[in-house]
């Protein structure tokens, strides 16, 4: 058993990165390895958009990540600095910035870049997906 981490830097539906990352994540868990966490950075933070509404005949990536978290206990960590400037705020940040509504909800959590470094050093392999 190996411990994996994923760094996703591609926006959903813009490139292959997010689709591949989700399939890789499922494969890791399905083969009995441990997926320690997924870190969303750069345009990858858009994968946490709670309001994403893709056509029904396309994979729903946001729901896919949430299902991964639920089925395998994988933490979904979103870089807070990259998220806020792209309009991705959880309830607490929305209140703090005086915004109506929020665009990020659990199991996604806004967190700092230090968590990416920790994840990378904790895993046997950190696999990056980007455009």
């Amino acid at each position: 058993m190996m411990r994996y981490g994923i760094l996703l830097m591609g926006a959903p539906y813009s490139s292959q990165a997010a689709h591949s990352a989700l399939r890789f994540a499922r494969a890791v868990a399905g083969r009995g390895h441990r997926l320690e966490g997924v870190f969303f950075y750069h345009d990858g933070v858009h994968n946490a958009a709670r309001l994403a509404a893709p056509p029904q005949d396309e994979p729903h990536l946001v729901d896919g990540w949430a299902a991964l978290a639920e089925d395998h206990g994988v933490s979904l960590q979103v870089c807070i600095a990259a998220a806020l400037r792209r309009g991705l705020l959880d309830e607490r940040e929305a209140a703090r910035h005086g915004k109506q509504g929020h665009s990020v909800e659990p199991p996604f959590e806004l967190t700092g870049l230090g968590q990416l470094v920790d994840l990378g050093l904790r895993c046997d392999r950190l696999v990056t997906f980007g455009p």
Binding site: Y41, H42, L113, G114, L116, V117, G120
Partner: protein, 127 residues
């Protein structure tokens, strides 16, 4: 085994920067990752590769788009004890740059050294 590994590791984190300072946020977000790692006490090596070497051309400002530019961040690296800066020698030549004329003191590295870097760092992040 873990101790042996620690002895030959040159650093905890290698951050490879492959984008120039303008047009996208790759460089800025890569530098942010390096600064945060250093702030948490990790030993960081920066490698400017390909177009990324243009980040070290002096005299660049933010420009009319209202973006902050990366020169101020680069000048902060020393405060964070990030002093291990490498530039890809081939890229320097391709862009007509000289290692002595860069914004910060850096060392040019050839292909053999570059290929060894991934083995001497525990974690590699590429931006």
């Amino acid at each position: 085994m873990a101790n042996d590994k620690a002895q030959w590791m040159e650093g905890d984190l290698l951050v490879i920067l492959r984008h120039g300072p303008h047009g996208t946020s790759w460089l800025r977000e890569g530098l942010d990752a390096a600064l945060v790692a250093a702030a948490f006490g990790r030993r960081v090596t920066l490698l400017f590769m390909g177009e990324g070497v243009t980040a070290l051309v002096p005299g660049q400002s933010g420009g009319p788009l209202g973006q902050k530019g990366t020169a101020p961040t680069l000048e902060m690296l020393e405060m964070y004890d990030i002093d291990s800066l490498l530039v890809e020698a081939d890229a320097l030549a391709r862009f007509g740059l000289c290692v002595d004329g860069l914004l910060l003191p850096a060392r040019a590295a050839g292909p053999l050294e570059l290929s060894a870097l991934a083995r001497t760092h525990a974690l590699v992040l590429t931006f």
